[in-house]
Structures are given as structure tokens and as C-alpha cells.
Assembly symmetry: C2
Homo-oligomer: 522 residues x 2
């Protein structure tokens, strides 16, 4: 890495990682559960009611005015959340307003960014935004992969983002929180309004630890706006705008099950695996995302539970109508939900007290006194690549491009049984590889790979190997599966063409650097 | 104060107050809204999930064992909350356990103490407890007033207690939180169980900022215990005991309206005053406590609202069946509740989403970005003494004994119209005095005194004087009322016989010292 004069270290999983990122020191990954944090949590400045209106009315006329009153200046860190997903209007408004104020070199710290945020590229080009720390799904990831961003991106899991803010690794100067419902005091939630997105948990850390907090809403309600998923006592200013987002893109209304026969087979085998492993029994818990295969897993699991009269103690969302159906049918006692993925999820969270909104603090923060992730009996997750040591990648494609965020993926690896249901190949490129392009999840936490041509159990899980020893499921070694993938695809995947420039650092849940991502050469 | 070599200063309201208390510097009161806090909030140590059980099960066998694992040692600060009121068993168990471990010189930091805590006197005598910082209702107050406690008591309002913990003025080493319902992860609430007390808001700061947090419950539920009024992510250990309190003393089941004709008259006049002042109109808000006169105020107000079809936007609890009736009849949109005072309050908080549990953080913390207290249109509060400058006392009796806590009283003074409905005399001792024994609330925040023989409006409130100028209510000057009280009682109240020893400091909501309390000579 000489050309760039990087300070790097080889970490415990053999990755050469930056130990200085954007001018600040970072600790290399030391192994799962090895890093001992020291010191104290971040300590926001003490405020006084004397400096806030007695009436509780914190309304100001525009985002620009609010940013001004927050004392925005060059080099500050501005955060946003991504509960409005690809329908968000607010992040673009914020940086347009900052540009209008002539501010430069901001660090954007979103909980994630989406294709709708492509306009931020112009602010990266014109100097308003220095760099982005947060997941970059789509165009921004592509821009970053081309080496065009001035600073180095830092990708964190949802829990890792909470940890970074809580521990003071990232100091947020101004948090801007889009709220589908809010009162003028700043109490806010996501369960009502035309942009209802269910909850605002991704913005919790921002509200608690930022120096200044701005609520932006298109649905100002009379005090008190209940539930106060964000508490007005943390809020400085409240801004009203015509629309915070495009409801059709915030929530799709229907989430699509996969129709691919292979993916359906994979989901069905994953359920069968969990059943045979003895996991699916009264009082168990599971988490599955909103991807097509994960949804299919949830549906097949529901069918099994109905047929065999098994009731879960709780399930973790991202919620969809499949989960809310299960709750209403009594197949689960609770949904503990970090993100609603459809309108049924929003409705259920609003109306059903057993559909509990959660946050990265409760669910994922590794620097807390425990979290929910390690209590889940079985977790189903995706991956772009898995290697023979069960290490997995979720952020880069086989061409090396950084096109996905980490989400809660790393955090969920602490579940008791982690299953990755993945196709053996995509576009005739094997998903199983000798070594993952980017190591995002250490193999020791990944228990099972389910593919359409067989299931590989991590040799570390002798208990699972034993439980499944008499199974009719196609239990095979990961090497066998990889060989088969290579045979079908006509060889190993081509190595991505990478430059020397490090464009992103990947954090582990404890704030250490587990891997770095390099520029892709065109 | 020479005998004791105190460091004192005369503060802005003319009180000679300690500026060093228990070896630590304190700032004298500087006037309402004058003190500018500096620095940052308290920063608890960063923890890691690696040091907590993956299963989420934090159960340990006893309070003693939990204290041991928290590393209890001499001189530490141990906190408890008072939602179980005079039925609490847990605080006594904690100091018995500490005594069993041979620990000395602890600071007990309860949110309040009650007559049921009289057994702590033996731990003050035997050296286990050095001193108490928190309200001392009854025997402990009496003990303290006799000058027998080694350290100086520090009394804070509910909001002031949150402020002190948040700002790091008080560092809690171990918080012990009694919970009527909890899971083994430490999620806890007060809405279920034989000791159901409604909510646990007084322990919120303790959970967030203490180094170590222990949940003590007699009702261990399966995970997830929802609502999580206390979040398990802050909790170190969970202990099960047979009983955390005496349900008959936690909640009385019925709260008694006053039957005194004078008190009823006072309450009725207070309502009439609020009506004539133009306060009681659609969308208004009020707060009244659970004392007999306050309850009568709420009942007369309800009657007026029913008759004139007026609906409140919200009311603040302490909740009783009178308030929950109003909620259910649609006379108020919401109850924002800090403390349930009867079983109906508990039921309503459990079942009605418009009966919202609050905390001193949301409601009262003066070192936040606003709080709810200043948004209330009319607040009705008690007092033991009021002087001609409208300064009021709620902690000491006319004999000088420290027998009451501050509660939310100081915080509520920020309401838009503060009414003290008080009798002109008690046991033939005038309540209106030349100068209050202990100055707890500055007169500038107290708007109206309602007595059975007349109403005095603070001259600072010319708007109220004008609004009531044509009223048939007996509006009189406070001097006139005082003179009448003295005439009836045969003179001014006798001065309490006080010694030189300062037994307690009274904090203002911003952490400054507004007054001190001296030992009472027998």
C-alpha cells in the first residue's frame, strides 16, 4: 500500500487493514470477543431548559434555518437515518441546505444510504460533503468504489453504528431525524402519517448523543406525540416540510416471496435443517430478513409450526405481513422489530402492543450489558460470498464493487444457530470461494450454509453434525460444495481488478477494523 | 456557623448555604434560570457483551451475591427508587445484605424514603450507612433533624435528582431497582405482578448512569418483559425474592378525597379561580397531586369540564381513579403520568395507550432541552409554609423538623399558573409567615395562594390580577391574609428552636443550593 502511505496492520484474520482512517486511529480486529473496550461512553454537553422555549414549541421555519441555529460549520458531522429507505427526501434536502449556507467538508453519517441519495454525488464533487460513513447501497457505493470520494468510507453494522456513537468513536455535531409524526417539542414516531415507516430506532443513538438534534416532519401533531420513539427532550429544533419521503418507496406494500424453484428449495431445506437440529420447538425464537429466500424460510417455517402446533416465544423483525400474521395467529408471542418492511408491519406495530419497536441499542449494541442478538435460536442471513472457512462477505460483489451495507448482519451472527441459505452460484459465478473478497463475518460465527445442492455444517459445530448425522438432507462438506460450484461454472471466479487505493474500512461490532475495501479498476 | 467550620455563602435569596457538602463543592442558588451549566453529562464505563451471558440470563441467587459481584465496597453510593412507597421491602434488604458483607460508610441515594425504611436507622447507627441523600419522609427525617446522621443530607426534586445523576454530581456505584415484573435479561416494568406500582420512572437515571445495576423482582417473566420501562441492556444482575413489597401499602386501592369543609371550599375556589383566569378551556392542561385538597380540585374541575363540555389536551399524573375516569370519559386526550397512586392508575397505565408512563427525564429534568413541566397551564401544589414574598416551604414543619421530601414540587413551579391551595392555619399555627423556615420554592414562580378566607395573587402576575379584577372571589393581598391568620391564631408562629448543625441541603432544580436545614433542638 506504499503509494498511499497508509498505516496498516495485518489483523487476526489475516487482513491488511488501515489503523489510521481519515486522520484518526483505529484498532485492528482482534478476534470475536477479544477486544476489551476501555474508558467511558460519549458525554454530550449539559443543556438547560432556560435556553429552550417554556412553551415547548421548537418549531423553526426551514432546515436551513435549523442548521444555522445549530451552528453548522465546515468539517462537521451530520447524521441521518434510513427508515424511509429508498423513498427518503430529507438527506438530500439537508445537504442542499448546507450547500446554500456555503458549508464545506461535511462528514455524512447516515445509518444507510440508498439509490435515492445519488444527488449527494454532486455534493461530494462540489466539496460540501467530504466523505460518507455508512452503508452505501447502489450508486454511492459505485462512486466510492471508483475511488472518487476524498475520505475513506467506514462501514458499520447497525449495532456497530450505535457502539461508535455511544463510545464516542463518531461524534455527531448535528443529527437530522425525519419523522412521519412529531410534535413541536420534538417527540416523534414512525407509526402515523403519510410517510409512516414504523419506527425510528436507527436514529436513537443520534438523538441521545448528538450535540444538536433537528426533527424534520411532514405531519406535525399536537403535543404529546405518542409513542415517543424519539424523545423531544433530546431535540433542539422541529422543522415542517411538505413531504419527508415518497410513501411508495418507503414501504412497498407487498414484499415478494421468491419464485425461483432453487431459492424455494433452499428455504425449505433450511427449515428442515432447523427442525432436524431440534431448534424448532415451543418457546424458540428466530430472525429472518425480508429478502425473497428469507421470506420463503419464514413462510415454510410458519407452515411447519401450524402443522405441528409449535409456538415461538418471540421472533425478530424486519417485519412483514408474514410475521404479523404469525403474531395474530398466536404462532409467536411477540415480534421484536427493528424495521418494518411493509404496511402490515407498520399497522401491527402501531396497534399491537406485542409488536414491539426496538433499536440497535436493545438488539445489537455489542458494547452494552448484553443484547438481543445472542438470544435468538436460529437466524437466517444472506451473503455475497462465503469461503471454505465459512467466512462471509455481504458488502462487495465478486467484481469487488462495494454495493451493499452491513445492516444488522454482523450483529445477527451472534445468534445460536446462524444459517446462510445461498445459491451455489449467481450469474454462473460461484458464491463459495477460496477466500472472500471482503471479510465481513468471521467463519467461527457461521454455522450452516444451505445451497440448492447441499448443506455444509461448520466443523466447529460438532453438535449440529451429530444431530443431523442420520438426516436425509444432503449434508456435505463446504469443500465438496465449492468444487461442485466450480465444476458447474467452469472454474473459480475471476479475481476482481483492484487498485491500491483503500476506499472503505469495514468495522467489526466492537469498533475494530476487520477488513478494508479497495478501489475497483475499470 | 463557626462551631462546625462550615464553608458557606449567602445566596441570591438571602440564605446562608453550604458550598461544601460532604467534602464536595456545590454552587449557591443564583436565581431562577440564571445558572449556566458547563461541561458534559456523566459518562458511564463502556461495557462489552463478551462479559455478559449470551443467553441473556443474568439471574443470580441473592441480593448479597449480586452486590458482591458488583464489587461493593466501603464508601460506595447505592441507589433505590420509591415507586413501592411505604410498602417497599427492598431497600432494607439491600442494607441488611451490605451489613452482612461487612461494608461500611455507604451513601444511600433513594429517590425517596418512607416510614417503612425506619430500620435503616440501625445501619446509620452501626456505620453501614454514612448518610442519606434523598427525601426522608417521617422517622428518617426526624432522626436526621436530631443531628444524628454523620453526613449532610441532600434533598433534591425528582427532576433535580435526574439532573444530579445525569450531570455527574452524584455518581451511583450500584443501583438496585425493585421491579414488579422483570425478565432474566433485566427488562422490567411496574404494570404487572403482585407489587404492581405502575411504572419505574424514578429509577430511569439510575439504570442509565450507574456503574452497576441490579433488578430485584418477585415476578420473573419469560423474555421479553414488555413494556421495558427499564431496559435490560443497562442491567448487570437479576435477583428473585419472595416479595419486593407489601401491595396494601404500595397502592391504597382508594385515594381519599378530603372531607374537611374548609379544604373542599379551598379546592372549589381554586377551580373557580382557574376558570375566571381563562385557563380552563379546550386544549388546556393541568397537574394536581394525590393529596386530599388536590384530589378535590381535580374532582371539581372535572365537574366543571363535564358541565361546560371542556376537554383537556393532557393532564399530568400522579394518577388516580379520578384522572383515569376523565381519560375514559374523553375529558382529556392523555394522561402523562409519573406515578400511579391507586390500582385504577396501574390498570389504566397497563391497558390504555393514552395513559403514558413518563420519567423525571421527560417531565422534570431542568438540564435537558426543555421538559414537560413548563408546558402545563395550571398546577396545584401544597406547601407547609408560604411567606409574604410568596416563597414556599415543603420540607420542614413549623417546628423546623425535616419530615417531607420535595418530590416533583420544585419542578412543577415552572407551570404557567402555579396555585397553592393551602389552609390559612394548621393546628392553630399560621401557614402564612414573614419568612419561610426553609426556602424551597422562590416566590417569583408562585402565582396564587388560595385559602379558605381569601385568594392572594402574586403582584408579579398583573395579568391574573387584571383578569380577576371583577371577580366575586375574595381576592386579597397576602399581607391581609397573613394578618388574619395571626389574628385567629393569636400571633405569629413561634420560631423553631434550631441548633448550629446543618443537617440537610436543599437543591434547586439546576443543582445549586437554595437553602439549608438545621438541627432541631429538643
Amino acid at each position: 500500500m506504499s503509494e498511499y502511505n497508509y498505516k496498516t496492520e495485518i489483523n487476526v484474520v489475516g487482513r491488511d487493514v488501515l489503523v489510521e482512517i481519515n486522520g484518526k486511529s483505529h484498532v485492528p480486529f482482534q478476534g470475536v470477543g477479544k477486544y476489551q473496550p476501555i474508558g467511558s461512553k460519549a458525554a454530550p454537553p449539559i443543556r438547560s431548559c432556560k435556553d429552550y422555549p417554556d412553551s415547548g414549541d421548537k418549531w423553526v421555519e426551514s432546515i436551513k434555518e435549523a442548521l444555522k441555529r445549530c451552528g453548522i460549520k465546515d468539517g462537521m458531522t451530520i447524521s441521518t437515518h434510513h427508515h424511509l429507505r429508498n423513498g427518503d427526501y430529507v438527506a438530500n434536502m439537508v445537504f442542499d441546505a448546507a450547500a446554500g449556507l456555503g458549508v464545506k467538508d461535511l462528514r455524512w453519517f447516515p445509518s444507510a444510504s440508498f439509490p435515492c441519495h445519488a444527488p449527494i454525488i454532486k455534493h461530494l464533487e462540489n466539496g460540501v460533503v467530504h466523505h460518507i460513513e455508512g452503508s452505501m447501497n447502489g450508486p454511492l457505493g459505485d462512486y466510492c468504489s471508483q475511488g472518487k470520494m476524498r475520505g475513506t468510507a467506514v462501514l458499520r453494522s447497525h449495532g456497530g453504528r450505535y457502539q461508535a456513537v455511544q463510545d464516542g468513536d463518531v461524534h455527531i455535531d448535528i443529527a437530522v431525524i425525519s419523522a412521519p409524526a412529531a410534535d413541536a417539542f420534538g417527540n416523534a414516531n414512525g407509526v402515523r402519517g403519510k410517510a409512516a415507516c414504523g419506527l425510528l430506532g436507527f436514529a436513537l443513538a443520534d438523538s441521545q448523543y448528538a450535540d444538536h438534534v433537528i426533527i424534520v416532519t411532514d405531519n406535525l401533531e399536537p403535543f404529546p406525540c405518542i409513542p415517543w420513539q424519539i424523545q423531544g427532550n433530546y431535540v433542539d429544533y422541529v422543522v415542517e416540510v411538505d413531504s419527508i419521503g415518497d410513501p411508495t418507496k418507503i414501504i412497498s406494500g407487498t414484499t415478494q416471496l421468491t419464485r425461483s424453484p432453487d431459492r424455494l428449495l433452499i428455504a425449505e431445506m433450511a427449515v428442515q435443517f432447523a427442525v432436524e437440529a431440534g431448534i424448532v420447538k415451543d418457546g424458540f425464537s428466530f430472525q429472518a430478513g425480508a429478502g425473497g429466500t428469507s421470506l420463503a424460510f419464514a413462510v415454510f417455517l410458519r407452515d411447519f409450526m401450524q402443522k405441528h402446533n409449535v409456538k415461538a416465544q418471540f421472533v425478530r423483525g424486519g417485519s412483514t405481513k408474514y410475521l404479523t400474521d404469525m403474531l395474530e395467529q398466536g404462532l409467536t408471542g411477540y415480534i421484536l422489530d427493528g424495521q418494518t418492511f411493509d404496511l402490515e408491519g407498520v399497522r401491527s406495530m402501531r396497534d399491537n402492543p406485542r409488536h414491539q419497536h426496538t433499536s440497535p441499542f436493545t438488539s445489537y449494541n455489542y458494547h452494552g450489558k448484553g443484547n438481543f442478538a445472542s438470544m435468538i435460536d436460529v437466524v437466517v442471513l444472506g451473503a455475497t460470498e462465503v469461503d471454505v472457512n465459512f467466512n462471509a462477505n455481504v458488502v462487495t460483489h465478486s467484481d469487488g464493487k462495494l454495493l451493499h451495507g452491513i445492516g444488522g448482519w454482523q450483529n445477527c451472527l451472534f445468534g445460536k444457530c446462524v444459517i446462510l441459505p445461498i445459491p451455489l452460484f449467481r450469474d454462473r459465478i460461484p458464491v463459495l470461494v477460496d477466500e472472500v473478497t471482503t471479510l465481513v463475518g468471521p467463519g467461527e460465527l457461521i454455522d450452516v450454509i444451505v445451497t440448492e445442492r447441499g448443506i455444509a455444517i461448520n466443523p466447529k459445530r460438532q453438535d449440529l453434525l451429530k444431530a443431523l448425522s442420520g438426516s436425509r438432507l444432503p449434508i456435505r462438506s463446504i469443500e465438496e460444495l465449492k468444487a461442485e460450484a466450480e465444476k458447474v461454472c467452469g472454474g473459480k471466479p475471476a479475481k476482481p481488478k483492484l487498485g491500491e487505493k483503500v476506499i472503505a474500512a469495514i468495522k467489526w461490532v466492537d469498533g475494530t477494523v476487520i477488513d478494508c475495501v479497495k478501489q475497483v479498476e475499470e
